[in-house]
C-alpha cells in the first residue's frame, strides 16, 4: 500500500499532465459546446478588447486602400442611382390616363437589413480560420446570420457575445453553402479544401453543365444570404470526387488578406419563416 502511495506521489506530475491533456482533447472533440461557449473564444470581452485596440493601429495602414474601394463602390451606386432616376422620369411622364391593372406595392418592406461591422481579428495562417467582428448581440447580431463584404460573400456568424461576434468564413473547412453558376439553374455547394486562401471549391455540379473560365459563382437558395450575391469566379477545373459531378476551383471575390469592413445581413422575416417552417415539422 505504501509502495502504491509512493508510486502515485512520485509520478503525480504525469497524472496532472494526463488530466490536462484529456481536458484539451475534450475541448477539441466537444466542438459544439465549444462553439457556444463565449468565454473560450475571441468573442469574450478581454480578447475582443485586445483585438479592437491592435486593430485600430493596423487599420490605419489600410485606410488608403479602403478609401479607394469605397470610392469605387460609391461610383457604382451613383451610376445605378442615375439609371433609376431616369427610369422614374420616364414612368412618371407617361400617359396618366393609362389603366394599370396590376401595380406592385412601391413601399414594400425590404427583406434584408444590413449591420455594418468592422473586422477586429482575422486568422488565415492555419486551417481553422475565423473572423472576429466588433458587433455583437447588443447591435442585433445573432447566430447564423450571413456576412458579406463590398466584394462578396464572407461567411456566417457562429458565435455572439454582447459586443463581439465570431464568423466562420468561406475559408474554413466547416463552411458549406449552396451556390450556382450565373447562367445556369443547377446547384452545387461551395467548400474549402484548405490549400489556398484565395480559392474555394464549387462541388457537385452535374457533368453536363457547360462552364467557362471566368463564369461568376452566385449564392442560390439560402436562408441567410440574398439571392445572387457574388461568391467568386470560376478559375479552373478541380479534382472531382466521383465521375458524375464536376468540381471547379473558384477564385473568391472577397480578399481575406485585406478585409476590413463587412456587412452582417439581418433577414427581417427570419423569425416568421422559421416559425412557419416549424409548424410543418410538428
Amino acid at each position: 500500500m505504501r509502495n502504491l502511495f509512493n508510486f502515485i506521489l512520485r509520478n503525480s506530475h504525469w497524472l496532472v499532465a494526463i488530466l490536462l491533456i484529456a481536458f484539451s482533447f475534450y475541448l477539441i472533440f466537444a466542438n459544439n459546446s465549444y462553439q457556444q461557449s463565449v468565454y473560450l473564444t475571441s468573442a469574450n470581452r478581454v480578447t475582443g478588447w485586445f483585438y479592437t485596440t491592435t486593430n485600430n493601429v493596423s487599420s490605419f495602414f489600410l485606410l488608403k486602400k479602403n478609401n479607394e474601394l469605397l470610392l469605387a463602390r460609391n461610383a457604382e451606386l451613383e451610376k445605378r442611382y442615375y439609371g433609376l432616376q431616369s427610369l422614374m422620369e420616364k414612368l412618371t411622364t407617361t400617359d396618366s390616363l393609362e389603366v394599370k391593372a396590376f401595380v406592385a406595392d412601391s413601399i414594400a418592406t425590404p427583406k434584408f437589413d444590413f449591420i455594418p461591422a468592422g473586422v477586429v481579428n482575422l486568422s488565415f495562417s492555419g486551417v481553422n480560420n475565423f473572423i472576429t467582428l466588433n458587433r455583437g448581440s447588443s447591435h442585433g447580431v445573432k447566430r447564423d446570420m450571413g456576412v458579406i463584404s463590398q466584394q462578396g460573400v464572407v461567411g456566417v456568424v457562429a458565435n455572439v457575445s454582447p459586443n463581439f461576434s465570431v464568423v466562420i468564413p468561406i475559408i474554413n473547412p466547416k463552411f458549406r453553402m449552396s451556390a450556382k453558376l450565373k447562367n445556369s439553374e443547377n446547384y452545387g455547394s461551395v467548400s474549402w479544401d484548405g490549400s489556398n486562401i484565395r480559392k474555394a471549391q464549387l462541388q457537385d455540379l452535374p457533368k453536363h453543365e457547360i462552364f467557362h473560365e471566368g463564369d461568376t459563382v452566385l449564392t442560390s437558395f439560402s436562408r441567410i444570404f440574398p439571392k445572387n450575391t457574388i461568391i467568386g469566379i470560376v478559375s479552373d477545373m478541380g479534382k472531382s470526387r466521383d465521375d458524375n459531378f464536376n468540381t471547379f476551383n473558384v477564385q473568391l471575390a472577397t480578399n481575406f488578406y485585406t478585409l476590413q469592413d463587412v456587412l452582417v445581413i439581418k433577414d427581417m422575416f427570419y423569425d416568421e419563416q422559421q416559425a412557419l417552417e416549424e409548424t410543418l415539422q410538428q
Binding site: 496532472v16 485586445f50 492555419g126
Partner: protein, 172 residues
C-alpha cells in the same frame, strides 16, 4: 529567485502577445507559420518543479487557443511537450548540472540547439496533426510541419541570442 518568477511572467505575456498579434498573421508561402511561444518552456530553469512546467505549459496553450479560436489544440500539444521536457532534457544535458541553470544558445550551444530542435519538432508535429484531423492531407501537413519548424527554430535561436547575450555578460 523572486525576480526570476517575475521575469518568467513577463516572458509568458510577451510571447503570447507576439504569437497572437504578429506571428499568427504570418503565413510564409502559405505554408510556414512561426510558432514561438514554446520558447517559454525552453527557457525555464532545468530543475524547475514539474507541476509548474506542466501547468504553465497548459495555460500557455489554452490562452493561445482562446485568442485563436482553436479549441484545445495548442493546449494539448503544449501540455504533452511540457510533460516530455524532462525526459528530453536528460537526453542532451548532463545530470549534474546546476538546477537553476537556464539553457541558452550562448551558454550551452550544442545541447541547447539539439534540445530546441527536438522540442519544436515534437510540438509542431502534434499541433499540425491535431489541427488537420478534420482535413487529412498528409503531404501538405508534412510540408507545413517542416517549413514551420524550420522558421520557428531559426527565430527561437535569434530571439535567444538577442535577449540573453547582454544579460549573461552582466551576470558573470
Amino acid at each position: 529567485m523572486k525576480l526570476s518568477y517575475l521575469y518568467e511572467i513577463v516572458l509568458f505575456v510577451m510571447l503570447i502577445l507576439l504569437q497572437v498579434l504578429l506571428l499568427n498573421r504570418i503565413s510564409l508561402f502559405g505554408i510556414a507559420t512561426p510558432v514561438l511561444y514554446l520558447f517559454f518552456l525552453l527557457k525555464l530553469p532545468m530543475g524547475r518543479n514539474l507541476f509548474y512546467v506542466i501547468i504553465s505549459g497548459f495555460l500557455l496553450g489554452l490562452i493561445i487557443d482562446i485568442f485563436l479560436n482553436t479549441p484545445g489544440m495548442n493546449a494539448a500539444a503544449t501540455t504533452i511537450v511540457a510533460a516530455c521536457r524532462k525526459p528530453f532534457m536528460s537526453l542532451f544535458f548532463e545530470k549534474e548540472e546546476y538546477d537553476a541553470f537556464v539553457p541558452g544558445i550562448n551558454t550551452a550551444s550544442g545541447p541547447f540547439i539539439r534540445f530546441t530542435i527536438l522540442m519544436v519538432l515534437t510540438h509542431l508535429t502534434l499541433l499540425f496533426f491535431i489541427e488537420s484531423f478534420t482535413l487529412f492531407n498528409l503531404p501538405g501537413t508534412l510540408l507545413r510541419i517542416a517549413a514551420s519548424s524550420f522558421i520557428s527554430i531559426l527565430l527561437i535561436f535569434a530571439l535567444d541570442g538577442f535577449i540573453f547575450r547582454r544579460k549573461r555578460g552582466e551576470q558573470v
